[in-house]
Each structure stands twice: as C-alpha cells, then as structure tokens.
Amino acid sequence: MRNIISILLIGLIYLTSTSCEDMFGDYLDKAPGIDITADTIFSSKAESERFLVAVYEQALQSPWGYDTYRFGRGQQMNNIYNTIAGFVTKSDEAEMGSGWFISQGINNGTTTVTPFLDRLYSHRYTGLRYVHTMFERIDDVPDADQNYKENIKGEMIFLRAQIYFDFFRRYGGMPIVERTYSPVELAETFIPRSSVAEMVDFIVSDCNYAIERLPDSYPSQWKGRITKGAALALKAKTLLYAASPRFNTTTPILSMDDPANNDMLCYGNYDENRWQLAADAAKAVLDWAPSGGVWLIEDKGVDKNYRYAWEVHDNPEIIMADKKAYNPQSYTYWLFKTVGGGDGPMPTQSFVEYAYEKKDGTEQVWEVEATNLDQKYSELDWRFHQTIGYTGFYWNKQRGVLNMALGPAPAGPHGAANKTGYMIKKHISDAVNNSNPSEPKNWIWYRLNEFYLSYAEALNEAQGPVTAAYEAVNRIRSRSGMPGLPAGLTQEQFRERVRKERAVEMAFDGHRWWDILRWQIGREVLNGPFYGLKIYKNQPITTPLTFRYERYAFETRVWQDRFYYYPFSVNSSSGATNEMNKGHLVQNPGW
C-alpha cells in the first residue's frame, strides 16, 4: 500500500512539475514538411537566388507603361499586340481599332476614374515588397560574400527607384514606403504623399546608391541583371522629367482642391539648373557606355542601323532589357488572320506627317489627296521604313507586300479596311509569322539613343543650342542617313526639332505619351481632328501597283488637362481597392 502511494505521488510530481510541453517534447510543434518558409529561402545563396529571380519577375513591370490596358500582370506577358496598343494609342502615334480600349475614352476625353486607372498600381507595391524583402534579408544569407551582397543591394535599390519613377511620372509625389511593413503596422502608420521634390530626391538618391554598388556588366548567363548603366540611365531620365514643364514650374496646370497640396504635383518654382542636372546625368550615361560594352549601332547601314537596334536581342545599344520573354502571338493573330489590322493599333497619318521628314531633311508635303502615295512614302526618313507597315511595305516572306487599299471585293489578303492605312512593324521581327507566331521578345527599358536626345534637350534648355547639343542630335540623325539640323536655330526652334527627333527615333517605344505629358503639350497635339488615309489603287491598274490617297479625319480628339496626373481609385469594384478612402492619399486634380 505504501509503495503504491509512493509511486502515485512520484507520478503526480512528475506530471505536475514538468510542463505539458516538456512531457511531450515537440508534440505541439509542426512536423517538418516540404514547404518553404522565410527561413529556408534565405538559408543559402542558391535558395535566395530563386527569390532574386522572383524579385525581377515581380518588380520589373512592363516598360510599356501598361497602365491603360485592361488586364493585370500575367496577361501582358503574352500579348505584345495589346501591350503596344494599350500604350501608343493614347498618344498621337496610333489609333486603336477596338473601341472598347481604354485609350479610346482618353482620345475623346470622356474617360472617368475607373477606366483611367493604372492597372499596375498595386502590382508596383508588390514589386516593392519583393525588393524590400530581398534587401532586408540578403545579409542573412550565410554563404554569400560581401561583394555579392552589395551587388544585390544595388539591384534592389535600383528596382525600387524604377518602381517609384513609374509612380512619379503618373501621379507626381507618392507615399514613400521604404521597407516591408506588417499589415498591423501599416494600418497604424500614416504615410502621406510626398512632394515632387522629395519624390525626385528619393529616386535620385536610390540611383546614386545603386551606381556605387553595381557592376558595368555581368557574365553572359546573367545578362539582364541591373548594371551601373541602368542606374545612370534611370537617374538621367528622372532628372529630365523633373526638369520638364510639368514639374519644373510655379503652379501646376490644374490646382489641387487645397493649393497647399500643389507640391505633390510640381516643384512650386522654376529652376533652370534642373535642366543642367538632367544634361549632366544624360552625359554620364553617354560617358559610361563604353565601359559597359554599350554603343550606338552605326555599322549596319543607314537603312538598317535603326532596325537592328530594336530587333536584335542583346544588341550593344541596349543598356537594359527585361529578359522576360514576351510573346507576340496575339499580334500575329491580328496580323495574319484579321486582315488589315482593323481591330489593332494603327499609326495615324497625323503622326506620320508630324514626325517623318524627307530623307533630305525637308518636310514632306501632304495634299488632301494625291495619286503619288508610293512616291511620297519612298521619300520619307529611313526610319519610317523600319517602323511602320504601309501600303507597298514588304513585311516579310510570308506576309509579302502590305496593301491597305480600299476597293471592290475581293480586295485580296491584305486589302481589308484599316482606319488609318498603317500598321506597326516596330517590335515585330521578320521571324514572326503564322507558323512561328511566338518568338520571345525582350522588352527594352533603356537604349543608348534616348540619352543622346535627352542630353541635347536638357543642354538646350540649360544653355541654349550649343554645339554639344547639336552634335548629340546629329549623331542620331546621321546614323539613319538624315542630314544634320540646320545651324543657327534659336533655343525654341532647337527645342521643337529635338522634340520631333524624339518622336521619330523613339516612336512606338513607349516614350511619346510621357513626353507629351512632361512637356504639357496635350492640348496642342492630342486635341482636334486626327487624320488617316483612304487608299485606292490608281486606275487604270498599273504594274507594279501604284496608289492614290484621300486624307480624312477619322476622329476628333478631346484633351482634358486632368490627364496630366492620374487618378487614384475611389471604389472597390473591378479588382481595385478603394485607395482614396484609406486616408493616405490626396486625389489628383480634376478627378
């Protein structure tokens, strides 16, 4: 009996003196599984590189300013046709065939907040979180050396700056999120919109941080990672935008409801020195280029240099390309199945007239109608022939010669109606055809040609049309066989010429819309009638075919000044969240 009691007492003491946890060891702990957690992912360099790849995938959002297209990330990857369309049809470069495209509501001035929304708004914050997560955890990776870590940090901070630049050029000053937050923290932390000055300083400072840490180039298997050149390019672009009329001004074009908030839209003063900073930064890109193995393509011939630079993967003119393989399948569908591209993006005659000079540097004359369309085309800038698909243009072996002529049916495979008479050739290499509709395509973020023109533009604003400015523009013109700009231009004349040069050189590359915004010339170039051509075969039929045209206004565009600053979403529909009512944001004017 006494023994039993002793045993029981010992048992009781055992049970009560040790906690349940101890008694059962790790009974309540999760057994090891195959799942990956925050701790395993940063436990080695090899693991963390899988996350690094994810950072690139998430943070490098489309360079094409995907903001006006309907779909979110994912779809855009496969759809160059819509990517181009969503972008260039907002500017004067092209018109969209499909009426439901959001750009059509922008063209006619009727769009409201929800359609106008920036579809990548929350994706950019996703990218930022990836960037910050990598930045904050890279030091935990045990088997990576310090140089490697500094390199990664440079890449991350560059990507952050790039994301903020994409915010900046849409909204002006934005809330600056500098680290990862927990939801609880963020619910309790008020992060207001920054001023434009703070926004620019933040981006530039991030670029400087990245410039210090990034290499000039990578081994070929890592081509596509961020280089010092990319950071220099972003810095130059940011400073150019900051110096431009939209921001570098005393008052914004439309005032905020509370004018005290106008610093979110512009600097609040004009400072000529901002142009000098922009010029210096663009010059730094040009100066850096040789060390990064980057140069202007000038050795392929005046009729091929330009095309080589957008068509060939990893060509030396590229400073930074998104190596995500985009797939132009839908574009070829449009190109080869729905004949004539009536639903797709169509370059406008207005843009052709504005941008393309004749090869001799004089303006082409476009009568209301004429019978010598073939001749007029043939006289245009070499770059026209490397950019736009027009009637008489040889597309490729399968597609043959384009023919956008109207006429009695059957008009032949290329003969269906097209509102403007043009198609976009740029970005669609000859390798793409019906049986090979999916050539992967790297989107180019930064190409060296841009910085010649940026340098010229900024220098002209800071110092007038000095020799260096002329040299920079003429370098671009001459490699495509165009004569140099006439000497003795005034600052204003030079400004107009360099702006036009940007429109030509970087047509359909995703710059024009932003340039229109930063120069604040929407009312000048996106307002009023827009022209296309009605094209007919000359009668009697000639051999080879020749064409006549009638110039006609296919639409009248209506510009709204509120388009200069994008709106924030105000309701919870269409997958967007109601950002305005969360209190961090001040809505942009006019929305």
Binding site: I7, G11, T37, R129, P183
Partner: protein
Amino acid sequence: MTQIIKSGFILLIFVLGISLSPSSWAQGIVETSSLPKDTVNLGYGSQPAWMVTGSVSQVKGEELKKNFTPDAGNTLYGRLLGLGVSQGNGEPGLQSPTLRIRGINTFGTGNDILVLVDGYELPIGQLVPEEIETITVLKDASATAIYGSKGANGVLLVTTKRGHSGPLKVEFSVQHGVNRATDLPKFLGSYDYARLYNEGQVNDGVLPGDVQYSQEAMDAYRTGNSPYLYPDVDWYSEVLRKIAPSSNYNLNFSGGTSAVKYFVMANMVDIGGLYKKTEDLSDFSIDSKYQRFNFRTNVDIQLSNRLTAHLTLGGTIDDKSNPAANNTSSIFNSLSMLPPNSFPVYNPNRTYGGSTLYSNPYGDLLETGMYTSNGRIFQGSFGLTEQLDMITKGLSMSANISFNNTFTSLSNKSRKYASFSLSPGEGSELIYTKIGEPTSLSGNEGQSDQWRSTTLRAYLNYARNFGVNAFDAAVLFNSSDQSFGVGGLPYVDQGVFGRFTFANNQKYIGEVSFGYNATDNFPKKSRWGLFPAVSLGWIASNEDFLSGSSVVNYLKVRGSYGLTGNDQIGGDRWMFRQNYVGQGSYQFGTTNTNFGTIGEGTIASGDVTWEKQTQFNIGMEATVYKNLELSFDIFQQERYDILATPARVVPSFIGVSLPELNVGKTNNKGFEAMVRYNSDQESDLRYFVQMNAWYSINKIIDNSEPFEVEDYLYRTGRPIGQRFLLESVGFFADQADIANSPRQIFAEVQPGDIKYKDQNNDGVIDQSDYYPSGRNGSFTGSLQAGFEYKGFDLEMMFQGIGNRDVYLEGSYFYAFQNNAKISEIAINRWTPSTASTADYPRLSAGNNQNNFLPSTFWLRNGNFIKLRSLELGYTLSGSLTERLGVKQARVFLNGTNLFSLDKMDFTDPETMSGHPPVRTISLGAKINL
C-alpha cells in the same frame, strides 16, 4: 500517435481514480423532495440538476425513438431548448441536419457545434436512440468553458447507455414503415407547357406565326393521341416510386452484478431509396438502398474495491448503393428541368427516348452505372477509475484512452448509353436519330476516406460534503490528435481543464471553471489559451421564506459569465509561418535561360489566434403548483477575434496579399423559455404538455469590409448571412411606365417585367441598388404533448421556425429558364389583360436577364410548423404477458414528418431542391423480457 499511446499507458499505470459514477459523491446529503432528482451530464462528470449553475438542456434517448429516422440528428427537432436543427435532404444515409446552438455567432467558417459521444469527438448521426442514455446541450460559458477553444459554438454531449446492477433485461423491437416524399414540385403538363412557351416566345419578340408549337401540336398534347411524337411525361412518377420501405430491428441486453455491469446492443437499419427498383431490369444498375448495422458493448468491471475498469465499444457498418453513379443531385435536377413533351420514356421500338439537350432520367437510372459504398465507424475507449479515499475521502482519479475513427470506401462505376430522338417521317413512319454511343463501365473501383482520433485523458475528481457544504472538483488533462484523409499531418491538441463547485446548504452555489489548452496550429508563444468562467446559483425555494410554500415548490436563479473559444477559424493551417511559393519564371542570359522563382505567399499572420466569445447568461428554473415547470434564460454573446481580411484599413502599399487577421466582431443575443405541465402521476390519465421557445439575433459589429459606395451596402451592422436583394416594386405596366422609371441596366425591359426600386436615387438600377432584405429564421418553437391512459399512450412533437424568409430560385420557380419547364407558380403570370391581378412576371421562353435577378419578388415567408412525430402505442403487461414469459410488450403506430403548416404552396419550406424530404409511417412492436 505512438507517443500519445505510450503516454496513455504510463498514465493508466499511474491511475489515481475517482468513480465516474455521479451517485457516489452526493451521498450523505438529505435530499429535499422538491429538488429535481435528475442527473445532468456536464462533460467529464455530472451533477445533480439542482447543483447545475450553467445553462444546459437534456433529453433522454428514450424520447428520441419517437422520430423514426436513420439519422439521430433528425430525432432532435424541438427537443432540446436552444438546439436548432435544420433539415437536410431526405436521401437515406445522407440526411444529417445542421445543428446550431443559440444560432450562429461568426461570419467566419466555423459555426459547427462540438459533438462529443461519451466525451470524445464523433459524429452523432449514425447512433440509434436505443443506445443513447441522454443527449445534453451545453450552452453558456459556465457549461462550455472547460472545452476551451472548442466550446464557443456550444457542445452537444451524447452519453451512451451503460449497465446497472440488477437482473438481465432483454429488449427486442422491430419497426416497419414506408417513406414517401413530403413534397414534390408541381409542374405543368405538355399542353400548358406548349401553350405558355408560345406565349413566352411572343413576349420575347417572336412573331405569333413563328412560335414553337403549332395548333396541331397543341391539339395533340391536349388529347394525348400521339404519345410518342407528342408525349406528356410526368418524369417524377416515371423515376420515383410512391413509397419506399424502411425498417429497424433492435436487440439489447443490460444488467449487472456488483462486479460487472454491461449494456450490449445490436441494431439493424434497412431503408430503400425513392428510386424505382431497377437492379433486376439492367446489368448496369443497382437498387438504391441504405443498410446499417450498429453494435455496442459498454462494460464496467469492478476490479477491486477501489479500482474499476470501463470499456466502451461502439460502432457501425453501413452499406449504401445508388444507381446512376450516385448523381442524386443531377437526377433530381434533370427531373425538375426536363419538359414533359421532350420525349417519351421509351420509343415504340423500346429504345430510350432522348434529345441532345436532355438525357432520359429513367434511362440514366437503368443504364449509367452503379455506386456502392461501405462505411465504418468505430468508437472505443478504455479507462480505469480508482477511488482514493485512503488519501482523502472523496478523491478519485481516472485515466482513459480513446480511439475513434471513421472509414469509408466506395466504388463508383459509370457508363454511357444510347437513346433515340423521334421525328415524323413519311406517313406514320418515325425517324430515329441516335444520341450517344454505349460504352462499357468505367470509373473508380476503390476510393477511400478516413478520419482518426486518438485521445488520452487523465482526471482527478474530488467530491465531498462537509456538513451542509458540498464541494465538487474535477481537474483533467487531455491530449489528442486527429488525422483526416489518407495522409496529412495530424491536428494536435493539449489541455488542462478544471471545474470547482461549492454549494452551501443547498441554497447558494458557486462555480469556477476553466479550460487551458493549446493547438499546434499557432506559434509557440501564443498556442496556449485560458478560457475561464464563473457562475452563481441561488435556490430560493430552500430559503425559509419559501420553503413549504404551496405555490413555489422549487425556484433556482442562476447566472454565469465567461470566455470561450472557437478553433474553427478558417484560413490555412500554420498561418503564423511565412510560406514561400512558386510564382512563375523569368529569364536571364543571352540565351534567355528560364529560371523558376519562389516568392512570398500570403503574409504570415504571426498573432493568429482563436475566435473568442464572452458569454453572459442569466436563467431561472422553477416548479410551481407542483405540476408546472418553468425555465427561462437570456443570453448575450460577444464573439471577437474572427478572422477577416483588413481590407478597409490597410492600404495597398503593403504590396502583398493581406493575411486574415483576428479583427472581426459579432454579437448574438436572445432568450430561451420552457413551460411544462405534468399531470398527477397517480391518476389513470397521465399527460404532459411542454412548450419550448427560443430566439436569437446576431449582428456583425466589425468585418473590416472594404469601403462601399452606399451606406446600405455594408454588411456591418446586419445579421450574419444577410441577403442583399433588389427591391421589387411590381411589374412595369406599359411603355410609358418604363420610360418614366429609372433605367434597369440588366436588360431591355418590357411591360410585365419586374420593376426595381432605385435605392440611391441615381436614376439607374444597378449593383448599387441591392438592399438588405429578408429574415434569417431567428425564432424556434416546439410543442410536445404526451398522454397515457390504461395502457394506451400518445405522444406528439410539433416544431416550427418563425421570423424566417426563404428565397425561391431554380427550376421549380423560374419558368422556362435554361430550357427547363414551368410549374404551377407561373400560371397567374402577367399578361396585358391580367396585369392587375398577376403575381408572376410576364413569361420569357429564353433566359430572362431581368426578372430572375436576386430580388424581393422571390422572397417568401418561410415560417412553418411541422408535426415532426406522432406515436400512438398500446402496452400489454400483467398476467397475459407474464404467462408468455414477457415482462412487457408494446405495439405502436408512428408517423414522422407528417405534415407542415406553411405558406409555401410548391415545396417544402426547408428543402427546395434536390432529393425531397420524406414522411415515414411505421408500425412497430417492442418486447421486454
């Protein structure tokens, strides 16, 4: 699992026990005659009813026999105050109702109550009343706190029968009956179908000359003279039989000596499905049936004068079969859609009729394959109890290990077959067009699912009286794991629970109880939670001023307050861990080499925790004028820490899918009342009448929903599950009415279409005009009465739900939608001439995009009162039976689900699609030896 078993055996060896027997501890108190003598099971022990300070209701297994149904859940309608029972469908073996205690308390996923059979988690449905001693509902915090994080939704305790000392008792019963569908929808025949279809077509813009059915066809439908080309088939009567058999056989033995007490039972359920018998007609069919065998052996063995062993073994084996690959819902769906004039069951050449649009439901029954399943449930526990009076009087300890598991295996084979559509040829010739090609059987021969639970438990009980003071305490340690399916990591729980009750002079009672438990689903720092409760009781009738009162025989007032938890929080397991998941790919290098990526998953919720609920309950119970029993409870429950996405407060700067955080709040309040009158037990006519009523209304306090454009679109402030509907304001009278009304964006409307109210007065009827509408059924009542007179007995149970709306949807109600048929509800449809009296919108033969939108037009009063059971019996006893060696014999006639009083003309108010509920009429006999 081995760890838990090993630990279990260590504990068993270290047993310090106290008897589970409730009678032991209260001895020595002279019981006042007016106190209730019942014992109430409280989980991990029981108390005499007078001592209970929590809110509990209890029913005896005996009463549950009054409902003749194979699912024990369906015996509970109206019987337990505060337990809501919502009817499921009527398919044998699949008819478990939804059980809720005091309504629902969370908009999260977990409203299921905790069901414990003999203290361990196990489904209740497959038990039979004959093996149930009591079912107890624990409602307030005082009663449920010991269940810690599992108690907040309320607890249902099922206690199975055990043996008592005494001679062997043998009971044998047999019950045979028939099932019949309570309500089948009322569809119109071919003539009306064709006539109204034409009308719908004309309304949709078809020229009167171009309608589907010619005058000749209409005549053929009306006269029925061409049944193959112009059939008029009532598919319900082709596929279903009017009645299906249902039987139950039970045999049980109980008894005991001072050393061994036992209860042994075997039960057999045998039910035929409502489908016609087809097994003998085809090689590819099987009769629909459900059979179940229940067995139980509960044994208690006195091993020494201190040590008792308890063995509880129960289980079921069930076999279910169904034709047509077990697609019950699709069969009933096609019955409710297939127009009567589509095709005949059989063509003249005995092939199956068919069309490309619809398959032939009777052909499906015969030709599309068979489903069989076999399920097993095993309940086993082994325990030891040791009296420790030698340490201190009244102390005991027990240890238990329990193994509960379920297993189902099934075979499902299906095939396709050919049918033929008919069209008229030359003269009287018919052209047959083949649809589908026959295939051989294919599918799944063996598939299985299982659930396992292993629990280890150790109790320390102390119960002793010190003069007029009584003290009762129970402390318990619990550790369990559960596994679902074939693989997967088990769910692990551990905890310590305690309950301490003190009673003074049988007047003043105080109790403190707590649950302190942990789960593996939360991080180490927060996986333990404490759930305490306090309660007080005062037996006023034992005070001097009331004792001896002829009016108030018994009066107890009690109140409780406490905290309970709900661990069915929804979301992923291990939400506290930041997972990284494959995202996509990206390319690097001049060769565009593809790299896989790993990215951040939904952000970890580091502080994830249980839903918690504070519960406040005040109640009273009384007996007045000797025969009248009353009880009343009011409660208020505040649920918080409900998981919700903080969509409202967190800006998208966060850059990652928001986690669910414990931010949601709801409340729920209500009352429960009971009145019972018992006649004097001595007279020839003995009877009782009992009325139960309860009411609960809940409200969402915070669900962190995103901002909405109109205030009335918020769910916050409304009951959980609130419907949002367009408000119907009648039918459009004419074009002028349409022109003068707000534009309805959903479709072009025409006269006779439903007109909706513009809630926000913006001139457009759109998504923003959905308005909270409809009631959730917050009131439940029941009326039970029983009579006994000279061997005859009669008992009935009415149950009803009030403050309830139902929403009409689907082919029973939506005429011609999705090529379906038309039911009687549409007869009084809108036409220009009936515009003033119409109660159904104008007909459309195509899919109408306006009239069948969610609107108040389809909201109907769903209140009902159902006669859930009625039993008339006659008991033979005395010299007649004794001569036969029979102690007692009873014959009885039983009706279950006999009728429903409601405002629903076309269907059962609870089951409005799929397999109909069944009404059962049966005859039975029971013999006691």
